[in-house]
Amino acid sequence: MKDICIVLSGEAGQGIQTVEYVLTRVLKNSGFHIFATKEYMSRVRGGNNTTEIRISSERVRAFVEKIDILIPLGKNATGRLRDRITRETLIIGEESFIKDAGGEKIEVPLLEMAERIGNKLYANSVAIGLVSGLLKADRETLKLQIRKQFEDKKEEVIKQNIDAALEGYKRGEELSGRIKVSLKRDDAVKKECLLNGAEAVGLGALAGGCNFVSSYPMSPSTSVLVFLAQNKSDFGIVVEQAEDEIAAMNMIIGAWYAGARGLVTTSGGGFALMEEALSLAGMVESPVVIHLAQRPGPATGLPTRTEQGDLNLVLYAGHGEFPRVIYAPGNIEEAFYLTYKAFNVADKYQVPVFILTDQYLVDSFYNLPPFNLDDLKVEKHMVKTGEDYIRYKLTENGISPRGVPGYGDGLVKVDSDEHDEFGHITEDFTTRVKMVEKRLKKGEELKKEVLKPKLIGDENYKVLLVAWGSPLEVIKEAISDIKEVALLHFSQVWPIDNSVAEYLKRAQKVIAIEGNATGQFANLIKAVTGFEVKERILKYSGLQFSVEELRKKIEGVV
């Protein structure tokens, strides 16, 4: 793939996110395909955070280690990247920022240039312009995006930022000969949208009819809460920051009981507090949608980093036995459609439905065609109650018509105790058995809607890779040039159908790829199908897989 990888590096609070935001839009609207992802420390100031922006002639959706251009925005911004800097890496910026780094250094006095225009603070705009110039992005687009970014500021400030960007652009253009790769542009890209995983989850929730969200802030899941809060007025969403995750989950179950469509968004530690109420949802047969953005644990772990370590947590969470659904979107499109779907499935089967993402997915951007909403609809499965309505009527498939209080002539009685069909507490063992079986029947019914895993790559594979969730695009790129290798990717990790064993048996070698230390999904496959995936490529450093490391590891095995 023809692409250029730019890395911005600086301290928290230096405006790296602003540079990323504006630059990705300038480049996308100049007709380049874009991918961006960030890694950041759990602190408000200082430290070292980086953002990677890949620019390409083709669709690009995965993290790479190589750095073609590095822009340090402060001192000590290159040390942590030492292993990713090669002799080919262009390092551009302030002399004092680049002096300790390897690579090919080009001094550009960003601060001085900014100061000459009016204020040192414009240095980030100079940097945006510099990169835009290096890649010969569209100048008018650059001006427009800078204006948009600073539209709340005084006209003078906007103008000076534009001047600063143009000054950077000029210098970038002069240096553009140093870029060896020439990228094609595609006008169609300009019409595409730039979204990150968190926005996709948020939009999916809106499309699923979400009108109630209650959560306690926790990285990296908070961005979904923020997204819904910022759009609450347009969609009539109740947004409540609860006193703790326990309250958040109980509120959402209360909301569904009264006919709302509720979501909680959290991470592993927060979800641990919701477990008791998850079990409540299982018992009262309440729909509930849970977005869990994973980060490395145990306990506080690495708060702003990524991992796929919470599959077992959500799979086994909650005391007692009850069915659940777990989706694990592999990319931004899936984050949208699966979150949308989660609401309808939760409502139809009256079960908890998880959207299991991670920091890497929620914080990554790329350009994609706008979602097609034409076939989407909010399926409301609640019924108007008659006078003799009973909440837990025993039915063939275990699903009882769900009424809500105040809608119809009946009463809606739900109970966390074992209950009879009326919803009243009971200790009758025969009823107990019937109710356990009723709840579990829904789990069987759910299997009819299981998303089949996708086979990607060589259909006549000898080596089959098995993965779930966010490593999807990284693996896809890693194996794009390797023959006889295919990926079997799961976007739904529970329930899974034991028919997947057929795929596995056809391979000479099966390798699980997971962002955790124990191969939780491989172990699940063993439990469900009896097939043991012995070889595993696992990563648990707190960082996502890179294309290069996977390519190397897979080639090593083939």
């Binding site: 009264a258 706008p370 209080p405 105040g406 809606v412 109970d415």
Partner: protein, 282 residues
Amino acid sequence: MDFERYISKDIAWCPGCGNFGIRLALMKALEELKFDPRMVVIVSGIGQAAKMPQYIGVNMFNGLHGRALPVATAIKVANPNLLVIAESGDGCMYGEGGNHFIHTIRRNPDIVNIVHNNMVYGLTKGQASPTSVKGFKTPVQTDGVILEPFNPLAVAIALDASFVARTFIGDIEFTKEIIKEAIRHKGYALVDILQPCVSFNKLNTYEWYKENTYYLKDHDPSDKELAFKRATERGKLPLGILYVNHNKETFEELARKGDKRPLYEYEVNFEKIKEMINQKTL
């Protein structure tokens, strides 16, 4: 419909329990205020008190221990046309659910919070509760309770709860009237109901309550400092409405900006979602 229909007939309370009186007072209050049972929800936690909605013909959410208040709050905001009552015992509301108690008062949803306060854990058979008096001996607190009892009224008044009252179930008529006031009040209303536990609390008996309580007279419930003084006084416990603040907006009014439609009537505006996605192309 009446409040005796569609109920569980197998009542799990001990003969002589104050819960019977509370049930009677609550049902009479609902009847006298002419509530349609279909528009009433009782949310409870776990414990003997929390079984109340099993025995009253209204909508019921018998949830988890300590968690009645967040559920009740959400139901009220999701459908402000419902009368929502959160009812449970002292252990459930003040112990396990203590954090929710504090923050529900801050939110001020228009719900009634009835707490059966018998100063002991009944269903788990006789351990101390947050409101047990110092020195109260139990199989667990073998040397007697060494902690100061939790003072729910003082906490509620300190947090400016919009309605704070206490009654004693030895006086069902009075309790009924207080519950009616609490229902009529707009905003969060705490009704702490003193009751004996005939099985596990041999200290705080009907006689004890009679001797250790008094009816508030010539009390101005709008006077917060006075209310706080009454709530924190040593000695006899005051009965009546201690504190009322009529000038507070409710959680659902603020969160829904006055919209009272049940959320289940909402339809998604897909055009707006399209617009948002299009914004992301710019």
